[in-house]
Each structure stands twice: as structure tokens, then as C-alpha cells.
Amino acid sequence: MDKPRSRRIRLLSSLLMAYLIVAACSCRMTGGLPGSSSDAIIENKGSDTIVNLALAWAEAYQDSHPKARISVTGGGSGTGIAALINASVDIANASRKIKPEEQAQAEANGVLPVEFVIARDAIAIIVNHENPVDQLSIDQIADIYSGVINNWREVGGEDRPIVRLSRETNSGTHVYFLEQVLRGGDKNNKTLFSTDTLLLPSSEGISVEIRQNPNAIGYDGLGYVTDDLKVIAVSHDAAGPFILPSPATVINQQYPIARDLYMYTTGEPTGEIKAYLDWILSPEAQRIVLELGFVPIAP
């Protein structure tokens, strides 16, 4: 009776040891990723609007600086900032400003986010090529997305129901659109997206649906708009002028739906990260901005 019990204990303890070793390994793996000894790798995560630009920058930078390693992932501005708060990235990309509550959470975690404006972007309003509507005022767009206007006929189009497409709520573009277009920048305005707005998980999802559906309307960063989508000219008010988005109309501030794009670092950047950010703000990197359909910061 005595022997089996001691065996059982030995078995259990060896099992326990195995568990502990596995647990210890996984802890070290998750805990040791950012910063630490492997400083040469810069973790860069966040906005899906910026991800292509960030990838192009990372490639160009690694070509001219063979020692640098930059890993870029998307997921949305909210995702990037959440990762910054949890200190699991070096640079967070965001297509909106950090929110006060996010700033507070970061500071509570001992992270001090530092903001860099790295490019500008126009948000294009896109529809299917079969849709005869060419121009909309900001108020009309707001009414469409808040559910006041439900048929294309009401804005000069065919008798078709309007299908509203939007990015998910973790997208900086979604938040920007809500605050600046639906609410016209008014902090006390509590307008929300109509409940039947389709929330699609990616820019690509929006493009695919608009390409095949003449009822649909969507919005997306100008860098993501391809020729098979029709871009709507937008005006500040019903009187016009109606302006198509382009780098030129963003720089001269004619196109009304444009915003800054940001990168956030944990504390004042140093070493490799500082060198990378300095390069991003250089004319060489800002040329890539223009190539990808974004707008360079004050040239």
C-alpha cells in the first residue's frame, strides 16, 4: 500500500515539474518580446490605413540600413494603441489622435506616449461605378450614415436603397468619420451610425462589396482606392464647390475630409527607433508617402 502511494507522488511531482517548465518558458517568451536585449527589432503595429505605408517605409529603410529589423502589423488604430498601452510594441500607428482615456491608461501602466505626425490622408467617399451620383455635401453624407437618407433618389441618384458600409469600431478611420463627418466636429453632438451600417473587418471587405453592389456607399483612405471604385466629390456645404480628393486638394485644404496620420512611441524615442522616425520625417521617406497615394506632411 505504501509503495504505490510514493510512486504516485513521484509521478505527480514530475508532472508538476513538467507543467512548471512549460509555464516558465511561455512566460519568458511573452514577457521578453518588446525592447529588452533584441533592440535591433522595431515592433510597429496599428492602423490598417497606415500599414501599407509603414511596410513600404520598413522595406526602404532596411535596404539602406541592413542592420535594422522592423516588423509591421496592422489590426486597427485601437489595436495599436492598446498594444502600446500594454508595452508590447515600440511604435504604434494610428489614423486618429490618442484618446484621453487611452493616454490615462498608458500613464497608469508607466508608458508615456509621444506623438509624431507622419503623413496626411484624405478619406475618399466611394461608390460603385454604376451609381450615377457624382457629388455629395458633408451634410448629405452625414444624413446617409445616420439613417436620415435611405434612398439614392434623395441625393439625385436612382431609386435604390442605400447600403452603408463602414470599418469596425476599432478603426481610427471609423472614429474620425464619426466625429468629423457624422457629428461635424461638434463634441456635444451625439449622432451615431445607423444600426444597419455594415461594419466590415477590413478595407478590402469594403472594396469588394462596393465593386459588386451598386447600392453601396463606403469610405476609405485615399491610398486604398483603386480605379474600379468611383470616388465622390465632396463639398463643405450644399452650394459647393465639390472637390475630388487628391494630395493637391488636401494640401491646399479644399477637400474637407482629411486628417493627420500618427505614430506613437513609448517615451521619447532613442537609438534605433529615433533614427527610424527621423528618417520617416525626411524628404526621402515622404516621397514614398506620395507614391502610395497619401499626402506628405508640409514639404
Binding site: L11, A82, R160, L192, L199, A216
Partner: protein
Amino acid sequence: MQNFSWREFIIPCLIKVSGYSAILFVGLIFLFLIHEGAPALVEIPVSTLFSIRWYPIESNFGILPLIGGTVVVTLGAAIFAIPLGLATAIYIAEIAPRWAREILKPLVEVLGGLPSVMLGFLGILVVTPFVRTTLDIPTGLTAFTGALILGAMAIPTIVSVAEDALDAVPRTYRQAALALGATEWQTIWRVTLPAARSGVLTAMMLGIGRAIGETMTVMMVTGNAPILPTGLGALFRPVRTMTATIAAEMGEVANGSVHYHALFLIGIILFLISLVINIAVASVVFRQRKRAERILS
């Protein structure tokens, strides 16, 4: 001798550990869900929780549209997949000639192994436009599209498990029925299928389980608009399921925020729903076995 007894001890022990570990893991997962999700019940007023608006970045945490969305998509998938899956299983097990059976069964299993992202892509590129133009509805990103694709994903599971169950029915049952003058269809419907009932029910349950838990495909094809489904028309409108909500929003939430707790609360509800389905089916299977034992004794 020493070696022999050691092995006799360790193997049953390992088997026992793996047996209990399932219970342990389910228990731990449930405790974790409760721990992370229960605060939401305190932080979010009940009136908000049972409102019909889900828009978490403005603190609207109405979960009814999400539950409704999952129910609509899952029921739609079940209505479509169960008859088709069972019919396929019956054909493969009872009617098909040997060569057809040897081709069909592996093919169905390959279908079951398709990654859901791929089916999602197929969904948005092919099924969505097809549904929109054929049914003449504003958009093809609807619960119906989701149900079609989820049904297609559940069918292989249903076929595979149900076919095994039908195959396990002793040949003598069928021979006895046929000898008594029953037609082939009467034999299948009145003898083979009832005899394989517990396996067939398990097949349905696993199929529904696959549909209810599926995330990626649903997120890609159902449009994710949190509209409370009312009536049959809801099947042809966009919906937002619980799984898609968790998947789409988990990445953005800060640990310990109200939104984070709300997402775990959705996880608890999802867990409870699948628990109820499991218990319901298990009780039916159990009751049936008892009756069978009574007849045999």
C-alpha cells in the same frame, strides 16, 4: 516483473489524467470566463444590457441584437445542413454502391477540412453577389449568406458522424426488416435510423456546435450590423453574431475596461448556449438508451 507492474500503473494513470483533464479544463475556462465577465453585470446597467443598441465606443452595450444574430444564423444553418447532411449520410451508408461510397466518404471529409477563411473568401466573392442578385435584396452580406456557408461547413461533420452511426447498426436489423416485407425506405426510416438515433443526434449537435462557434466566415459574410432580428425577414438582412463581435473587438480593448468585461460576458452567454444544447441532446440520447435497455431485458 517490476517493469510490468510499473507499466500497469502508469498507463491507467495517464488515461485517468487525460480523462479528468477535460473536466478540469472546462471548469477552469468557465471560472476564467466568470471572473472576467461577471464585473460587466455590475458595471453595465441592466437596462443598457437589454437595450437594442450595440456600439461599445459610446458605451452602448445592448447584447440582444448579438444573441439574435447568432440564433438566426445558427438556426438558418441547421435548417439547411441537417436534412442535407442526414440525407447524404443515409445515401452513403445505406444506398450507394460500394465504389461510390469509397469516393464520397473521403471527399466529404476533405470538405470538412477546408479552412474557414477560404470559405469566407468564397463567400464574399461568389455567394454574396449571387444572393443579392437572385433574391433582389439591397446587399448580399446577410444572415442568409452566413447560414448557407456555415451549413456547408457543418454538413461534413454531420455526414461523417451520422454515417459512422448508421454503419454501426448491425446488418441483422436490416435483414430482419427486409425479411418481414419492409421496403428499403421503410427499413431505413423505421429501423436503421432509430437504431442509430444517438449517433445521429450527436452528429446534429456537433454540426450545430460547429455553426454556432464559427467566427471567421461569419465575420466576413454577414455584414456585422448589430440589428435586432424581428421576424423571418431578418434572415435576409445583415446581422452581427456574438463570435464575430468578440473577434472583431477583442484586439482593441484595454484589459479590465467595461468593454473588455462585456466581451467576456458574451463569451459566457455563448458558453451557456452550447452547454444547453449539449445537455438537451445528452438527455434525449440517455432516455433513449434506457428505453432500449428496458426492451432488451
